[in-house]
């Protein structure tokens, strides 16, 4: 297979040999290089711009912004700890619910399903990954929340057995009027399932058939082949896919804002594990507080929230991409 290197050599060869229109080629190369440099600058500019506009808040609040949990315009206190824990909690619920289902569905699509059923289901899953989050939010408000309130929260709060069970006691409790951490976590799970399934399926399909054949030749069952041969070599890629899904859930704004209730839990440190309590995430706090933010430090603090989101999502994506790349290299080797 001819590689890109061959091509670039032949291209540069034709360039140096010289044509009378060489200057147009220079313009062409200049134009594509400039655009790439502009793109590079843009990513760096996003970080710099957020840093620049959040400077007033960084100067005034210092580390209190990360450690504090109160967000009050009246007292001028802006702390993001409660939002950060809310973000981690809701994304964590989403991952816990969606990962087993996504990976099993991906195994089904890549390994088990009959050929004729694979294409339509794959097509459907890709379409579902394209549904805008605000539409999921609408469904969350009018279908998921009433369902959870009537079928889960009210019975759970009334039940006496849950009130005595050690762990469930602190989890299945809270205000229970609908918009809640539970609703946000489940809705996020529904949203990221098609996304994680699609990536996992691609990774499984990239594992060479030879490995499966070799295992089958030793007399393993299909389940043993998948669990002991296919999954171990796909593991880094699958973990990367899960992290990409986590990154999605982490920065998701609209659907969460619409179902999470947008209230800091009423505890001393603004944190709560109660699933039926409303909560806040970084992104939903930004979307909600933006309209009422006064110019000056309140706005700067909101932009600093954006900076926190930018940096964390960059770190998550960096690790996820490295893992997916590592998996690809291992499969190729």
């Amino acid at each position: 297979m001819p590689t890109i290197d061959d091509r670039s050599q032949s291209v540069s060869g034709s360039l140096t040999s010289g044509t009378n229109r060489k200057w147009i080629d220079s313009v062409y190369i200049g134009a594509i290089t400039t655009m790439s440099l502009a793109l590079m600058t843009l990513v760096l500019a996003i970080g710099c711009a957020l840093l620049w506009q959040s400077m007033p808040a960084i100067k005034a609040l210092g580390p209190g912004f990360v450690t504090g949990h109160e967000w009050d315009d009246a007292t001028g206190k802006y702390g993001s700890a409660a939002f950060l824990s809310g973000t981690l909690y809701s994304s964590g619920i989403a991952i816990l619910v969606s990962v087993p289902i996504s990976i099993c569905s991906a195994i089904f699509l890549a390994e088990l399903a009959p050929k004729w059923i694979r294409l339509p289901i794959t097509f459907l899953i890709e379409l579902l990954a394209a549904i805008p989050s605000v539409v999921y939010g609408l469904w969350g408000i009018f279908v998921l929340i009433p369902l959870l309130r009537d079928k889960v929260m009210t019975p759970a709060l009334a039940s006496s057995t849950i009130g005595k069970t050690p762990i469930l006691k602190s989890l299945l409790t809270g205000a229970g009027y609908g918009p809640s951490m539970l609703a946000a976590g489940l809705l996020l799970a529904i949203m990221i399932t098609p996304f994680i399934t699609a990536i996992c399926r691609d990774i499984l399909l990239a594992i060479p058939t030879m490995q499966r054949d070799a295992a089958a030749g030793l007399g393993t069952t299909q389940a043993e082949t998948i669990l002991k041969v296919v999954l171990p070599s796909a593991a880094p890629g699958l973990i990367g896919a899960v992290m990409l899904g986590f990154g999605r859930a982490f920065g998701e704004t609209m659907a969460v804002t619409m179902v999470i209730g947008n209230m800091t839990p009423n505890t001393p440190d603004g944190r709560s594990v109660a699933l039926f309590d409303p909560g806040y995430t970084i992104a939903s706090a930004m979307a909600n507080k933006f309209t009422e933010a006064t110019p000056g430090i309140a706005t700067a603090a909101l932009i600093e929230l954006g900076l926190v989101l930018f940096v964390t999502s960059m770190l998550i994506n960096f690790f996820a991409r490295s893992l997916v790349r590592l998996a690809a290299r291992r499969i190729a080797a």
Partner: protein
């Protein structure tokens, strides 16, 4: 066979195998059932107001049920037009760079584009707000929001997607085509413009349409940039957009507006689905020819 199947160990393995297969099948069914339930609800509820007048009228203050979302549709179309205008040149040119060049810079740009693709959409909106709208609003309070700023935010989100497909499609063009053109003494830019790009055209158009479908429903970046508008406004000021209208109607306490939210959602979904399905047909047509 029968004597083997009666071995306890083998029997156990077969049962475990069947259980595993069933588990995976059930998970796939659950995933599809839940997602199908979402879609089914959307079509059932959205059909109420889904009629021509809903698309050709502005909101009606006297009789809300007779109002429509014309201003949101027009707003969305113009915002997406601006997003296309920004992302197509930057995306395609830097995609060409990825296919032509090789080296450190190329890898750095590719990595940063991946990063850009993973940044939450609300952060992109906040970026436009921080460099464009906030400085303007500090001089002219209450102003600065515009459809153009919203288009810029969506355009930035589309760039990585357009760049990636351009790069991939150019790599699919057979090496012999590049070589043949260059061997005739055709300069590099003519080879790209008249030989390579035309044969990758369908794939690139598909990529652009999928990118458009992805940003068409984005709401968060528009919150800080176009603000929304109850009326038909010029693109240089606050305008309305379908996802913003949907958000407003969904969180409103008026039942008529709630019902209209479902129809707005149906409209938005149909736009996204039509773009995705058209893109897919285009790829298939391209493969056949």
């Amino acid at each position: 066979m029968t004597s083997l199947a009666s071995t306890p160990v083998l029997f156990q393995r077969r049962v475990l195998n069947a259980l595993f297969q069933a588990l995976c099948g059930i998970c796939a069914v659950i995933a599809i059932a839940v997602l199908g339930y979402v879609l089914w609800f959307l079509f059932r509820q959205g059909i109420t107001y889904f009629k021509p007048s809903f698309f050709t009228r502005l909101p009606d203050n006297v009789n809300p049920a007779l109002g429509g979302i014309k201003h949101s549709i027009l707003g969305s179309v113009s915002i997406l037009g601006i997003a296309l205008g920004i992302s197509i040149p930057i995306g395609i040119l830097s995609g060409i760079y990825q296919a032509e060049a090789n080296g450190k810079l190329c890898q750095i740009v590719r990595f940063l584009t991946d990063v850009l693709n993973g940044i939450p959409s609300i952060v992109i909106g906040l970026f436009i707000y921080a460099i464009w709208i906030l400085p303007y609003a500090q001089k002219h309070p209450g102003q600065g929001y515009s459809g153009i700023a919203g288009g810029a935010a969506l355009g930035i989100m589309m760039i990585p997607l357009v760049m990636r497909t351009t790069d991939e499609m150019l790599h699919l063009v057979p090496q012999s085509l590049w070589d043949a053109s260059l061997a005739l003494g055709t300069p590099r830019w003519r080879t790209m413009l008249f030989v390579v790009l035309p044969s990758a055209r369908n794939g690139i158009v598909t990529g652009i349409m999928l990118a458009l479908a992805r940003v068409a429903g984005e709401t968060a970046p528009l919150l800080f940039t176009v603000l929304g508008n109850e009326f038909l406004g010029p693109i240089t000021g606050p305008v309305d957009a379908l996802p913003l209208r949907l958000y407003k109607y969904a969180t409103s306490s008026d039942p008529v507006q709630n019902a209209m939210a479902w129809s707005t959602a149906l409209t938005l979904i149909l736009i996204v689905l039509i773009l995705s399905i058209l893109a897919r047909f285009l790829t298939r047509a391209g493969k056949r020819s």
